[in-house]
Amino acid sequence: MFFLKFISKFIKVLHAGESPPLIAAGFTMGFVVGLTPLLTLQNVLILLIAFLTKVNLASVFFAMFAFGFVAYLIDPLYHSLGYYTLAEIQNIKPLWTAVYNWPVAPYTRFNNTVVMGSFLVALVLAVPVYFGVRKGIVAYRATFGKRIENSKIVKAIKGSSLYKWYVRIRDLEWN
């Protein structure tokens, strides 16, 4: 139910209301947090920023949960990339050693292969994700949104007993 709530809210903001850059920024933040292990200092900071700025929170949490599953699936890739970055590239070992000795650095868990690997992947993909989502929302609102809304499939889904049941539950929770 918790996750459906975010999907529902996310679909709503896709249709209208929030500006695309704020939705895209929220989505990107959620994407970074979702792809990486949650309990790190950098994720706490990102979530803090998300709460304090006007980025769309529904998109933050939607992306966080959605990419949390993706993270689970591609975990071995993170481990290999993280291990390579931390242990096999000799030239940057002095940098890691220095960071390892900084105060607070241990709370970032940067020396963990999965944290490092996932953070690198998230960092590299963050910019294209931001611009991609922003462009996607504009395109969606201009073209696909209404078409999808009026499509037979969506109408069929909306007419289904499951959807009605969902709306009933949703309204119960939200009102």
């Binding site: 709460f51 006007k54 931390l86 020396n111 690997g117």
Partner: protein, 620 residues
């Protein structure tokens, strides 16, 4: 800035704060209990754990650690403990405690509940191997029983079921020798310097017969001679190499047959142990009596050391960054990097301890006092070994001094524990239950020195004990009804002073357990003197039967080796002799030619002088 977000964060902070206030202590308490339990192997319980972040202090009202060997008893139990953590290291996620004083620790207190926990069984490690090996060495000591005096050994049935290993080993050694001889034979067959030697011999004969009339003839002959010498030396070198290889192989063959007597002895010992008629040596008496008493605490100490090595890993383990192929999902692998300051993740710089056993009879109780320094999970980072110095004293008596160090700062872990005590009362010592032997020992004044050293897995443990007066006690139902029990009662009741020396040394796969005491020789002599006649005869008969089967094979095999050795050596020597002979002839010819050259030189000089004189005379 989102106002609602700010409020949300404020609420979140408040919620986290409240959760911290109400739940953290319980969570930490549970966490420490779980981790402690898995380390000890039995319940660890904490009462009223409190962590204060404002004062950076920790306190608890009671800590109980269950004895894993007796889960209704605590190993120890503390009263209130409080200490402070250093603030600086906490921002680096490190817990550093400068000093903790734990007073009034009580040892061996009774528990109100069972402290047993289910722990998954671990794969046996090297300490288990050591324990099994030592226990086996103790168990190997012959058991005293009446059968040893009067048992009838059925040699026929015993030998019928026993496969004499020595025969098979001799056959196998002979088969190996045969293969070696065949190979050597083939090598010699392929090696044919005779043809070359024949050619050289012909050339030598031609040289001998050749007339040398002038200097060019002489020089040509010298060249031919030198060439012949070169050829012969090459053949000689080849022969020497072959000879050396043959000699090496023959030595190897002979060496394999030098073990025959050991194989026979092994067979003899196996049959003896099968028939339970082992030797009764003084060394065995020591193991039989005090084996368990020495081995049990040694194994216990080794288990503690293994535990310490697990939680205080050496640098090699600590910095091991080899890639884990499949770490648990979303857990990954932590990569370690060098640390510049000497603050490890956890450090307790000094622990001052004061403890006492919990016994109703205070005269039996003893107290422990002392310091432990350098308790850390990263000894390499801290750079200093864990050291401890404790004194344990029974009420109103002299104390045991226990000191030592666990040095895990280098790649090889080294542990040292020393115990010294003088004038202490040992009291009752339980001895293992064995037929005809005492089951306890009472010792009044004792002097003990023990030195336990472990470098990696190589153990060096020595203990010396002198106790006086001592009293050995037998089980109540053990009456001196037969020869053995009469002897043991007599011997043990005459002992007033016990001098015991024990040692365990070596790596896990070659541990030597040695125990000797002043009782050993006396008891061994007395037991030997009454050993059953039939047992003595059985031993001699077993030896005769084994020899009967092994000796013919041994003789044949040795003869076979000697014959082949002589044949192969003879062949190679023959070639070697031939080469030496030819070489001698050519060397002689060389000398002759050298003489000829000298002569020609002298003649040339004289001729030149004469011609010069003639020239001068004509001028005058």
């Amino acid at each position: 800035m989102r106002r609602n977000g700010l409020i949300g964060i404020a609420i979140l902070v408040l919620l986290v704060g409240a959760a911290w206030y109400f739940l953290t202590d319980a969570l930490f308490e549970r966490q420490i209990e779980d981790v402690g339990g898995s380390v000890v192997g039995a319940k660890v319980e904490i009462d009223n754990f409190e962590l204060s972040l404002t004062g950076l202090s920790v306190s608890l009202d009671r800590l109980q650690v269950t004895d894993p060997n007796d889960t209704w008893t605590n190993l120890f139990e503390t009263g209130r403990v409080a200490f402070e953590m250093e603030a600086g290291p906490l921002i680096r996620k490190k817990v550093v405690v400068n000093e903790v004083a734990i007073e009034d620790v009580r040892l061996g207190t009774k528990r109100e509940t069972d402290g047993k926990i289910d722990i998954p069984e671990e794969e046996p490690g090297w300490v288990d191997e050591v324990a099994n090996d030592l226990k086996a060495q103790v168990a190997d000591a012959p058991v005293l029983n009446l059968g040893i005096l009067k048992q009838k050994v059925n040699i026929d049935s015993l030998m019928a079921t026993f496969d004499i290993q020595a025969v098979g080993k001799i056959d196998s050694a002979r088969a190996n020798a045969e293969t070696t001889f065949q190979r050597l034979q083939q090598t010699l067959a392929e090696f044919k310097p005779q043809d070359d030697l024949k050619k050289i011999e012909t050339e030598v004969q031609q040289l001998q017969q050749q007339e040398i009339s002038n200097l060019p003839d002489l020089l040509r002959t010298v060249d031919r001679t030198k060439k012949l010498i070169g050829n012969l030396n090459a053949i000689k070198k080849d022969v020497e190499a072959k000879k050396s290889k043959v000699s090496f192989d023959l030595k190897q063959v002979s060496a394999s047959f030098t073990h025959i007597d050991d194989w026979v002895r092994d067979d003899f010992n196996s049959v003896k142990s099968k028939a339970n008629i082992g030797e009764f040596s003084a060394q065995n008496v020591g193991k039989m009596l005090f084996g368990d008493v020495v081995v049990r605490p040694t194994v216990q100490v080794l288990q503690y050391v293994e535990l310490a090595r697990k939680y205080m890993p050496v640098a090699q383990q600590f910095l091991a960054n080899g890639k884990q192929e499949k770490p648990p999902r979303l857990k990954g692998q932590d990569i370690r990097f060098p640390i510049f300051n000497n603050k490890p993740e956890f450090l307790l710089e000094k622990l001052t301890l004061s403890a006492a056993t919990n016994q109703a009879d205070t005269s039996q109780a003893f107290s422990v006092r002392g310091d432990i320094a350098g308790v850390t999970n990263q000894p390499r980072v801290y750079g200093q070994p864990l050291i401890f110095g404790l004194s344990a004293s029974p009420a109103g008596r002299n104390s045991y001094e226990v000191s030592g160090s666990f040095d895990h700062t280098q790649e090889t872990p080294v542990e040292r524990i020393r115990i010294k005590a003088s004038g202490v009362r040992l009291g009752k010592i339980e001895l293992p239950q064995r037929n005809f032997l005492p089951n306890s020992l009472f010792a009044e004044t004792s002097k003990i020195s023990a030195d336990f050293g472990l470098a990696d897995r190589s153990l060096e443990f020595k203990v010396n004990l002198t106790a006086n007066p001592v009293e050995f006690r037998f089980a109540e139902d053990a009456k001196p009804e037969n020869a053995i029990s009469r002897i043991t009662h007599e011997v043990f009741s005459s002992i007033q002073t016990l001098s015991l020396t024990a040692g365990i040394s070596g790596p896990p796969d070659g541990l030597r357990l040695q125990i000797s005491s002043n009782i050993d020789n006396v008891l061994a002599q007395r037991i030997k003197s009454v050993l059953g006649k039939s047992v003595k005869q059985a031993r001699a008969e077993i030896r005769r039967r084994i020899d009967e089967k092994v000796e013919p094979r041994k003789r044949q095999a040795l003869q076979f080796v000697a014959d082949n050795r002589a044949r192969i050596t003879g062949e190679i020597d023959k070639v070697s002799k031939l080469v030496d002979e030819q070489l001698a002839v050519v060397e002689a010819k060389k000398k002759e030619l050298e003489g000829e050259i000298e002569k020609k030189k002298d003649e040339g000089v004289k001729d030149a002088k004469d011609k010069l004189k003639g020239l001068f005379k004509k001028k005058n």
